[in-house]
């Protein structure tokens, strides 16, 4: 489904060139749960964002179902992100002035399937919180909301950037099990973590990045 071919991305800061990704290549098939780990600054998030179409690489390709997303127009990239990719971030990034329900509804295509949202909220135990604002939620509840927002459109790939980074072990397990359940539905998951311990049991593949290169 996804073919990452010699992906390279460099950043320039204070006249110094920093190589975030250096000819990274791997494949993601339907039903894969790939855990990408490595130390801070190893290029994990850059890899995830490049796959998600938020960053254009300097060279290399991200082939989604055979199409190089780096050649997509802006509009095609928007559609790719809207239909094929779901993001979960460490910081949740919920809109603070929208309720739980509205944060999820925001990404849904029209007409909004209220029943589907309710089912997911029920499954993630946040249905009673649907009218609460993010400031009224615990971190675990925030991440569950962000998770539903990421998968409500049934994307082909879930890109999770340190999704448990801010959570306690109990909440981490809840989120990972929800991601695991999503994966069991035949979807692909790429999860980035600098501490993959808990996620390892869900992984079908594991990639270790260091200084922008796959070392394992």
């Amino acid at each position: 489904m996804l073919d990452i071919v010699k992906l390279t991305k460099k950043y320039t800061k204070n006249n110094n060139i920093f190589t975030a990704l250096n000819e990274v290549s791997f494949k993601v098939d339907e039903g894969d749960f790939i855990v990408v780990n490595g130390p801070s600054g190893s290029g994990k998030s850059t890899l995830l964002h490049t796959i998600g179409g938020l960053i254009r690489p300097d060279s290399g390709q991200v082939l989604f179902k055979g199409k190089n997303i780096n050649l997509f127009t802006g509009k095609e990239l928007e559609l790719y992100r809207k239909r094929n990719v779901g993001f979960v971030f460490q910081q949740f990034h919920l809109l603070p002035y929208l309720t739980v329900f509205e944060n999820i509804k925001m990404v849904c295509p029209k007409p909004v399937n209220r029943r589907k949202i309710n089912e997911y909220m029920e499954k993630c135990s946040i249905l009673p919180l649907e009218n609460k604002y993010p400031s009224e939620l615990s971190v675990g509840e925030k991440q569950r909301t962000a998770f539903i927002r990421a998968i409500i459109t049934s994307p082909d790939i879930l890109l999770a950037d340190e999704p448990t980074g801010n959570l306690d072990p109990v909440n981490s397990e809840v989120i990972l099990s929800l991601i695991g359940e999503f994966h069991k539905g035949g979807k692909a998951v790429i999860l980035v973590s600098h501490n993959p311990g808990a996620a390892a049991k869900y992984a079908t593949k594991s990639i270790v990045l260091s200084e922008g290169q796959i070392i394992n």
């Binding site: 801070s40 964002h49 928007e78 992100r81 239909r83 971030f89 509205e102």
Partner: protein, 388 residues
């Protein structure tokens, strides 16, 4: 999710930012509407004062010395139908309220006590209806035929209920009921008598003759007096036009000065408010980078992001304009009542101005959010959302 609801929720969430932007629109709207309303009130005030002061243009035969109207009784005359010719002319539109007048000194009037006086007599033709101009309320003297208005000084010499008597050129004594005793302060007419034109012409044996036309040229600073002069002379080359200075001129100067200040202050306040708003929208976009990042990550288009920023600017612009309009009108009414003697009660909301500002201001404020909105579409979602 409906973009309007999203924008409204964001406005209420970031109350301080939104309130200050709203305040800039309110201030700009209030100042603009207040100054414009006061300027309009000032214009009306000037117009009313001009009316109060009487007609301010004289049209008279060339070669007439204006002082002769008050001192001698042999000023050149011309046919009274000149007034009708001017009123019927399609090309004569620079002045209004054309009134044909015969005004002379009557050197030997005897009052009821037998005392003799030099008085001024003036006969007024009905104000001409200018066929090709919209109708207006008449002004000047409206003396009914067969009656007179007497000036305040003469009035003291005629007991209440007595008739005004005057000897005609033919030696006959003419009697006229006094329908109005004029208040003092009418200038030379304090010692004069106002007649219906035909009556005075009969008394003086000057049928069909007048020696001046009085008229009103509304604003004298934009060349209309020149216009009036050329228009009159194009029809009657033997007539001249003169402008009579009055308090209205001072008021007019004051109004023009106010307009001048207004034409500086209004754009200055609007531009300053727009600049502040632009900076506040920029600050808002900076604050919302992560929100915008997540919108990009979830596939929202650049158009959508542009839309929500500019819609916020438009909604605040619209709300501020409406509040500013009523605040500006209230200020104009409050201060206008202190400033304007004649038109204080006439200061009312200028609904046509609301029509303009309700369109212009929201558009201006939307434009002030344009650059910040463009910047929002360029937010680097990867950087703002990254955990690394």
């Amino acid at each position: 999710m409906n973009a309007v609801i999203l924008v409204i929720k964001e406005i209420f969430y970031r109350k301080v930012n939104s309130f200050i932007i709203l305040l800039t629109v309110i201030v700009a709207g209030t100042v603009s509407v207040a100054i414009y309303s006061l300027s309009r009130a000032s214009e009306n005030e000037t117009r009313k004062i001009m009316r109060e002061q009487g007609l301010n243009l004289y049209i008279y035969p060339k070669g007439t010395n204006l002082i002769d109207f008050y001192s001698v009784n042999n000023t050149p005359v011309f046919p009274e139908n000149y007034v009708d010719v001017l009123a019927e002319s399609k090309t004569f539109d620079a002045v209004r309220h054309l009134t044909g007048i015969l005004q002379l000194k009557y050197p030997d009037w005897t009052d009821p006590n037998g005392s003799r006086h030099q008085i001024l007599v003036a006969g007024y033709k009905d104000e001409a209806v200018q066929r090709y101009l919209p109708g207006q309320e008449t002004m000047g003297f409206d003396v009914p035929k067969g009656t007179v208005h007497v000036g305040s000084l003469i009035s003291t010499n005629i007991p209440e209920g007595d008739l005004f008597k005057i000897r005609g050129k033919n030696g006959k004594i003419y009697e006229f009921p006094i329908t109005k005793r004029l208040e003092e302060g009418k200038g030379m007419l304090d010692q004069g008598v106002a007649f219906y034109l035909e009556d005075l012409q009969q008394v003086l044996g000057m049928e069909g003759q007048i020696n001046k036309i009085e008229a009103l040229g509304c604003v004298c600073h934009d060349g209309r007096i020149k216009n009036a002069r050329s228009q009159v002379q194009a029809i009657f080359s033997d007539l001249e036009v003169a402008e009579i200075g009055s308090i209205a001129d001072a008021r007019e100067n004051q109004r023009l000065m106010m307009n001048k200040y207004g034409s500086f202050i209004i754009p200055f306040v609007i531009l300053s408010a727009l600049l502040i708003s632009g900076l506040l929208f920029y600050s808002n976009v900076v604050t919302r980078r992560r929100e915008i990042g997540i919108m990009i990550a979830t596939g929202k288009s650049k158009y959508y992001i542009l839309l929500i920023i500019m819609m916020k600017a438009f909604l605040l612009g619209l709300a501020g304009t409406i509040i500013g309009f009523f605040a500006g009108t209230a200020i104009a009414e409050y201060f206008g009542r202190e400033i304007f003697r004649f038109t204080a009660q006439d200061i009312e909301p200028l609904w046509n101005v609301l029509g303009y500002v309700i369109f212009i201001f929201p558009v201006l404020w939307t434009l002030s959010g344009w650059i910040p909105a463009l910047m929002a579409t360029q937010v680097d979602a990867a950087r703002t959302l990254s955990s690394e």
